[in-house]
Structures are given as C-alpha cells and as structure tokens.
C-alpha cells in the first residue's frame, strides 16, 4: 500500500474510499462527462448574463443609494434590501412561478437569469457604494478645488480609484453567483446541478456524481479567481 492511499484513507475514512473504488460509479461519471460539460456550459452562460444584469443594476442602485434625490435613494434602498434580505432560492421560485408569468412570457432559463441578475445587482450595489466611499475624501476636494465639477471629479478622479478597490469583492460576488446558480435546478433549468440530480436519481451514485459536480464547479470558480488575480495585477500601481 503506498503512502498516498494510506493518507487518503486517514483523511476520508474507509467507507468513502470503498465507495470511490466502486468502478460502476466511475463508469457512470465517465459516460456522462459530455452531459456534465453541457450542464457546466449552461451554468457559465447563466452566470455571465446574470453578471451583466447585476453589474448594470448594481452600478445604478449603488449610485442611486448615494443620490441626494430622496426618491432615487429610497427606491434603491428598497431594491437592495429586498433582494439582499430574502433567499435567492425563494426569489427564483417567486419570479418563475409567480411574478414573471403575470408580466411576460419567459423560459425557465430567462427567468433564472433575471432572478440571479436581480439578486446579484443588490450585492454589487453595496460593493459599488463601499468602493466609492473608500476613496479618500481629499481626492474629491482636491479635484473640486482644481475647478472640476462634481460629475467630472467623480468620472476622472473617484471612479478609477474605486474601480481598483472593488475588484476583489466583485470577483468574490461573481464566484458566489456562479455557485448560487445551482439553485435554479429547482425550476428545471438543465444546468450542472440539475444534470447531477438527474444522474443521481437514476444511478444512486451519490459520492461519485456529486464529487464530479464539485470538480466542475471548482474548475469554473478557480478560473474566475485567476481572472481576478490577473486584473488586480494589471491595475496595481505600486
């Protein structure tokens, strides 16, 4: 017995090792790799579209919350509070089965993107606000004293500095969003988790199927965090 195997045994306990040695489960995973890949691709698509919606809504609501116009900041606060204060899972069900059918026709995938985008927007809004507020007040004052208007100072001085600050929390939010898209399996969107559910329901290979699903998610989130590291390095000033 080699050391690696003994260490793995120590780490996971014998029973899981026994199950992983069950070749049938491995075959199930290998035979279904194309299905997993298809599910992972859909997960990625939902995530990307949700990020786009979330970024647009987030910037609007984040700035809106800091607005001097009472009505604008009020609406922004309500939006942020609702989508941050209720579970995404419930939002997905409420939007798909309840609200969206009343308004327009949407497929399950479209509803999933709308729900995830709306939810993500609330978090992005707070990240945007935190980023802008983290820029030293003196920066704005200095810009204004040089004759810039408030808007000019925001665009040329505050935003570029805030952008750098918000990258780590934004990447964090995108990773959370990617993982949270697993919840849309409840409305029969055939993404990665739904693919796993279907396979698990017909083969009962819990350890193998869910381990494979984990690997796929991990590869995607790791790619996102590498992207984030790269962006941080590109924007580093010191």
């Amino acid at each position: 017995m080699n050391f690696g195997f003994a260490a793995a045994e120590l780490m996971f306990g014998l029973s899981i090792i026994d199950k992983l040695q069950d070749i049938y489960g491995l075959q199930v995973v290998i035979n279904n790799l194309p299905n997993f890949a298809k599910g992972a691709w859909l997960t990625l698509e939902i995530t990307v579209f949700s990020i786009v919606i979330g970024m647009i809504l987030g910037v609007i609501a984040g700035l809106g919350r800091m607005s001097n116009i009472k009505l604008v900041s009020f609406i922004s606060v309500i939006y942020i509070d609702f989508f941050r204060g209720t579970p995404l899972f419930v939002q997905i069900l409420l939007l798909y089965f309840g609200i969206i059918p009343l308004l327009f026709d949407a497929t399950a995938i479209q509803s999933a993107i709308i729900a995830c985008g709306l939810n993500s927007g609330a978090y992005v809004a707070e990240i945007v606000r935190a980023g802008i507020q983290a820029v030293d007040k003196g920066q704005m004052e200095a810009a204004r004293s040089l004759g810039m208007t408030h808007t000019q100072a925001m665009i040329h001085i505050v935003f570029p500095q805030a952008f750098k600050i918000v990258i780590p929390p934004l990447i964090n939010e995108f990773i959370m969003l990617l993982k949270d898209t697993s919840l849309v399996s409840a409305i029969s969107v055939p993404e990665l988790t739904h693919t796993g559910k279907m396979l698990y329901a017909s083969t009962y290979q819990a350890v193998w199927v869910w381990s494979a699903v984990c690997v796929f998610y991990f590869v995607m989130t790791k790619a996102l965090s590498i992207l984030g590291d790269w962006a941080e390095r590109r924007l580093a000033t010191e």
């Binding site: 120590l10 780490m11 014998l14 029973s15 059918p101 497929t107 409305i187 029969s188 279907m198 009962y204």
Partner: protein, 263 residues
C-alpha cells in the same frame, strides 16, 4: 516547510480519527444474533398527496402511506419515526443506513430492486397523462412525442418521459424536485402534459385544479405496484414490514385506511 508538513500530518490524523469515529456507529451487529427491532426510522418525500403530505393545521405528516406505516408500527409494536426528505435521497439514505426503510409511493422497478429490497406490494397505481383544460390533440402516449413534458425527478413518470424522448428527440422533458412544481409548470403553460401516478394526479385535480387540469387517455404502465424499500439484505426489517402488512390486511385496518383516502 517542515512545520507546514507536520501541521498537515496532524490535520490529516485528526480528520482520520473523526472519520473513523463516524464509521463506528455503522458497524454491523455480529451475525447470528439479530436484535429485536424496536424502532424504525422511515424516510418519505412528504409532498405527494394523498400518500404523504403535511397537515396544514397541525404540521403532522398525514396521508395513505403514513396511516399504513403507523398501522404496521402498532401491529408489530415498533416505534415509527418519519423523516421527511427528497424523493431522490431515499435510496441513497437507505444505502448509507440513515433510514431503516421508506414509504413514499415508490414503484417497485427492476432498476431499484437491484440496489434495495422491496416489501410485498401494498398499492397498485399506474401512470396517467394530465393536460391543461382545453388542450386538444393529446389523448395517448403516442401523442406525447414532440411535446413539452413535465414530471418529478426520479419517478417512473420521469422515466416514461425520457423513454418518449428517446423515440422522438423533439420531445422536451422538464423535471422538478416535487410533482407540485410540474403541475404549476403545466398550469402556467410551460408544459403540454404532466406524466405522473394516477392517484396523485387525480387527487391534485380534485383538490387544487378542478377546472384547470384534466386527465386524458388510459392508465399506462398499469403493472405498477408500490412497495417499501429496505437496505439490500436487511431481512429483519423486510420481514417485519411484510408481517405487519399481512396483519393489517387480515385485520381489516388496510381496507379502512384505503376507504379513508380513496372512497
């Protein structure tokens, strides 16, 4: 580096011991002396009326299956603890020993019988097609080809949908964790038909959607019998359940429960 390695080793040892401690509870009793069963932990997907559901007023689990397992418990003098879980989790939970048996309107199929043992059948069901009121052109299983079908993940209804899709790839199969979501999809127009067990569909239409959903065509896969699964080789639980089932049938309790829910 050395320090890191030794830390890693300690962490691994700790995890290993935790895992070993966790496995201890699952050790099989020595052969030859089967202990008397005094309590059964029973898994059930408690969202499948009228077989298993939650009483809105009391929060208790009620339904045909619940009455049957409670009657068996009384007849055999064992305590029954119901554990609510997803339908797809029932068989893995049995395999892991997290539950002793399940009663969840589960059809006895060849695939399932390969991984668990089933008691004698206690109910005969069969599949039926349900469509939205006003739908035309769906009468038989043939008509389902190329349509959008909704069903619950892991059920024989879902298997039937997948089989139809295998014959005509234009068919779309949407699967949900609970059958209620499949019916919602049907009602909001996202699916053309729901394929599910006849008694459950009939009960749903009767209680929730009298004018909105209707059953069409004949019962198919009529050779469909519900059984209670136990872990493969767990003859103690299997015999107890079969004995209890025979007893409540002989005493007439079964007929009373049947009449309560289906007449």
């Amino acid at each position: 580096m050395k320090r890191f390695l030794s830390l890693l080793l300690v962490a691994m040892l700790a995890l290993g011991m935790l895992a070993a401690a966790g496995c201890g509870g699952n050790e099989k009793e020595p052969a030859g002396q089967e202990p008397a069963v005094t309590k059964l932990v029973v898994g059930s997907e408690t969202a499948y009326a009228p077989f298993e559901m939650v009483d809105e007023k009391t929060g208790d689990y009620i339904g045909f299956d619940m009455d049957i397992i409670k009657a068996i418990g009384e007849a055999m003098d064992v305590e029954i603890e119901i554990r609510s879980m997803e339908f797809t989790a029932l068989i893995p939970a049995l395999q892991n020993g997290q539950i002793d048996c399940a009663i969840s309107a589960m059809s006895i199929t060849e695939d399932r019988a390969q991984v668990v043992d089933f008691t004698d059948s206690y109910f005969d069901a069969g599949l039926i097609i349900a469509v939205a009121e006003g739908t035309e052109g769906i009468e038989t299983v043939e008509d389902l080809k190329g349509k959008v079908l909704a069903a619950q993940i892991g059920t024989i209804g879902a298997d039937a949908c997948v089989a139809i899709k295998a014959e005509d790839s234009a068919t779309v199969v949407k699967t949900y964790d609970h059958v209620g979501e499949a019916f919602m999809e049907l009602q909001k127009g996202g699916a053309d038909a729901v394929v599910n067990d006849l008694p459950v569909t009939a009960y749903y239409i009767q209680t929730e959607a009298t004018d909105k959903v209707k059953m069409v065509g004949e019962v198919f896969q009529a050779d469909d019998h519900y059984g209670m699964p136990v872990q493969k080789g767990d003859t103690a639980t299997l015999n107890l359940l079969n004995e209890g089932l025979a007893k409540i049938r002989a005493e007439g309790t079964y007929d009373e429960i049947y009449a309560k829910w289906f007449e």
